[in-house]
Amino acid sequence: MDLAKLRQDAAALLADGRAGLVIGFRERAGACVPAFVTDADQADALVYDDTCIANLAAYLRKPEIRQRRPVALVARPHVMRSLILLKAEHQLQGDDVLVLAVGDDTYHGVLTLAEAERLLNETYADLATDAQVLAEIERLEQMSPEERARFWSEQFAKCTRCYACRAACPMCYCERCIVEKNVPQWISTAAAGHGNYAWNVIRAFHLAGRCIECGACEAACPQGIPLMLLNALLAREARDQFDARPGYDAEAEPVVGSWNKDDDEGFIR
């Protein structure tokens, strides 16, 4: 991948004022961390490799970031999908963001959101769910309901309700999350038992038909809860049942919130 070109583009965007901020990655203590570059001189600090999993689109909801629009973002295909979906959900304007598009060992250059949408549909139209995740979903589906309940009981018991998953997800942009709603309080905030169950299940459901499977939430979870199992399951169902392809069409209707006369109702008596 042409990292030098990426740095050069980032510097140029900042230098000629096309972007007020470049969000990318830099190295710190041997790990990739987000970098917020406002000065063309600092662009050389930018790096990119496979370990850069964080979905930088999650920062776009922050007011201090929004102030510096247009913002340029180092984005792999999943992150580009996040941006398209944010636009579909009216959280972004087309010209709020520029994309420093990185793909499989390729740097695609600086793209507008519309160009990123085209690139996605032409080159990255079939981003598949991680094979290991799929295999694990199938393994769980083979279990009895009781075994599955036990599995998730153990997983959710680890949850400390730090909400790092939520912070890492660009689609969790609600200013007041449902878990923080207290009149009435639907979801117990105590880090235990049914509250943990309800939180994790509702978090996943609120991403049904919206999760682009970037994996940032699971990566962010300090407790190692396999959140992608829930997300990928719903992504699979949304795709199989309703042809959902979130993040490929900035004009698409939301999957939950639209309907089709022929939607499956085999399960309804």
Binding site: E89, H90, Q91, Y173, C174, E175, R176, C177, I178, K181, V183, P184, W186, H206, E253, P254, V256, G257, S258
Partner: protein
């Protein structure tokens, strides 16, 4: 602190037989917040209601739960009683101890236990209930009627007669619609124009009716009581103020060979024209597509001969926005195009015509002045075959439904033909004769028994033109069980009735639903046949389904009655079960806006004092919201709630079931 009153009704023996009402009242007394709990034989009786009213006053109740029959039965009764005692009616709830409990369970202890549960649920709910006030929506007391056929004219006249203003919009240059094209009408054979034209004139002259002919609705905004409708007035190129309707222009117009829409292409008209002599308004328009001046830039004869200088070649389309409180849709029907039927000549045989064309041939004002002459060579038709169900009841190539009026008008055609060509042969092919209606079957019998029409039950398999120019009609007589072959001069096809082209586009504009063929859907097939699911939009005539003239007129008057009812008050009062957005937490993802079946949620821009946009949020239009709550369930941040069924109320109910 909540002060809830509980009232358990025995409903005579209906509840009391299986539910121990006294025990339920006693158990309810122990519920937190309940300050009074009693049981009584007939809670809905005067003394029963008085008991509730007294308790509301004496105990300063903040909520009431009546355990009795289904709320579908007596909720309005008890809420009115609460209101009369000074309690907001929405602070009263009913628990369904009869339909959902005593009538469906026999075991007394089990039923009593369940009744106590049902009471607890409603007590918990009512403690969370908020006072709600009926929503008042101002009503603009002007109606829009779309379509100037007989249905639209009737609706407009009735509304105007009731003292309210009407704007009547018609797409073509004249009022009258299809009825103006008919020769005579079944089953009385009175002249269509003789009964219609006076109504057209009346509509045009009525002080309460504003006529907008040659105009189309292009946009509909707003909601019941408050629609804003954009109407495009097509350029007429003739100043109606100056024009006297003298007719010098169309007598001299050199573009004479334009097929007349009014005469179903059997006659011609000029480029500057009025559709027919009795047109209302009786002033010509220029058809820009065919006018030599407007297409080629030279001619100008009409302007030269016009004594008042009314011709304006530079006229332009105009859009006007009108404010109305109700809309009556009366856009009518069209005939199905029979060229899909190859066996009937695929529309290529000149002497195979449709019902409207026959009407024009039979009409004294038509292109043949009422003589039944075949279009190909103008000879009197000595033998005419009429084919019913052309396209109707044919799920494969036509439409599956019955077009309803064809049996009747075909009988009329056969009679009219026999009146005009005494020695002529009128043969009718039919599948069934459906002549339900006052005097209808008698009329068909008359055609067969005294007017000499030959009715053959069966279908026609092929029509072709012989070398001598006559048509050969081959078919089956399924009663006699043999093939028949008839030589005819003309074939009249009773084409299926279909909606106007563009019907679905108008429906989408109006927010009215329509069926798979494009006919508009009524709100309820039995009990609300005139309303649509869109509040404030009503239906009249064949835009809803095939209808004859009396049915169209009846429905038009019904629609007018609905409109007048709506306009009888300056404000509209509706149940306050509507959604509300918490603008502080709404992040404007627009899921609710897309999900709302009524388009009742819109963007709202929040601005600071200087007018700078701070952010955009969703906003429910109370006038349009019907209170289904679909938006609430799609809102991830819990920023919408539904009055009457709030999250808090529902949660309290679920929690009460622990």
């Amino acid at each position: 602190m909540a002060r809830v009153g509980v009232f358990i009704c025995h409903c005579g023996e209906n509840i009391g037989r299986t539910v121990d009402c006294a025990a339920v009242a006693k158990a309810a007394e122990a519920f937190p917040g309940v300050v009074k709990s009693v049981d009584y034989k007939y809670m809905c009786s005067d003394p029963g209601q008085q008991m509730i009213k007294d308790a509301i006053r004496d105990e300063r109740l903040t909520g009431v739960v009546v355990g009795a029959c289904s709320p579908r039965m007596h909720e309005p009764t008890f809420r009115r009683a609460a209101f009369e005692a000074g309690l907001n009616p929405y602070l009263l709830e009913m628990a369904n101890l009869r339909e959902h409990c005593s009538w469906v369970h026999e075991d007394r202890p089990v039923a009593t236990e369940k009744a106590i549960d049902l009471m607890r649920v409603m007590v918990e709910k009512v403690k969370k209930n908020a006072e709600l006030r009926p929503i008042r929506v101002p009503v603009e007391p002007t109606a829009l009627v779309i379509g100037g056929g007989i249905a639209g004219i009737q609706a407009a006249l009735d509304i105007a007669g009731g003292g309210k203003k009407v704007i009547l919009v018609e797409r073509s240059p004249s009022l009258g619609g299809h009825m103006a094209r008919l020769s005579e009408t079944f089953p009385t054979l009175d002249c269509s124009q003789c009964i219609l034209t006076p109504r057209m004139v009346e509509a045009a002259n009525h002080p309460n009716i504003t006529l907008m002919t040659y105009s189309e609705v292009t946009k509909v905004d707003g909601f019941i009581g408050n629609f804003e409708v954009t109407v495009r007035q097509k350029a007429r190129y003739v100043d109606p103020e100056k024009c006297t309707g003298c007719g010098a222009c169309f007598e001299k117009c050199p573009a004479k060979k334009i097929p007349s829409e009014f005469d179903a292409a059997l006659g011609n008209r000029t480029a500057i024209y009025r559709p027919f002599p009795q047109a209302v308004p009786n002033k010509p328009v220029i058809d820009a597509e065919h006018c030599i001046m407007l297409t080629k830039g030279k001619c100008g004869i009409c302007a030269k001969v016009c004594p008042t200088g009314a011709i304006k070649y530079d006229d332009k389309d105009r859009e006007v926005i009108v404010k109305v409180g109700a809309i009556v849709v009366a856009t009518g029907f069209e005939l199905w195009d029979h060229s899909a039927y190859g066996e009937y000549g695929a529309g290529r045989l000149e002497d195979v015509i449709n019902g409207f064309q026959f009407e024009r041939l039979a009409s004294a004002s038509g292109p043949t002045t009422g003589e039944i002459r075949r279009p190909s060579d103008g000879r009197i038709a000595e033998s005419v075959v009429f084919i019913q169900c052309c396209g109707s009841r044919d799920p494969k190539r036509g439409v599956p439904y019955c077009s309803k009026i064809c049996c009747m008008y075909t009988a009329k055609h056969a009679i009219l033909y026999r009146h005009k060509v005494h020695h002529g042969r009128a043969v009718v092919f039919y599948m069934d004769v459906r002549a339900g209606g006052k005097g209808y079957d008698e009329f068909v019998r008359r055609a067969i028994e005294t007017e000499g029409a030959e009715y053959i039950r069966g279908r026609v398999s092929r029509i072709y033109r012989r070398k001598d120019g006559r048509l050969v009609v081959k078919g089956a007589d399924t009663l006699a069980g043999r093939p028949v072959e008839i030589v005819a001069d003309m074939v009249v096809l009773a084409d299926a009735i279909v909606p106007q082209p563009g019907a679905s586009r108008l429906a989408q504009m109006l927010g009215v639903s329509y069926d798979e063929y494009g006919f508009y859907s009524e709100a309820h097939p039995k009990l609300r046949p005139v309303e649509t699911a869109k509040a404030g939009v009503f239906l009249a005539g064949a835009c809803q389904a095939p209808k004859d003239i009396p049915e169209s007129v009846a429905q038009a008057s019904a629609a007018a009655a609905k409109v007048l009812g709506l306009f009888s008050q300056p404000e509209l009062e509706r149940e306050p079960i509507v959604a509300k957005v918490n603008e502080v937490t709404c992040v404007h993802c627009r899921a609710c806006i897309q999900a709302c079946p009524y388009g009742a949620i819109e963007d709202k821009e929040i601005k600071d004092s200087k007018g700078n946009l701070i952010r955009t949020v969703a906003c429910v239009n109370e006038g349009e919201c019907q209170g289904c709550g679909t938006c609430v369930a799609v809102c991830r941040s819990g920023s919408i709630d539904l009055d009457g069924f709030t999250d808090e109320e529902v949660l309290a109910e679920i929690a009460a079931l622990e």
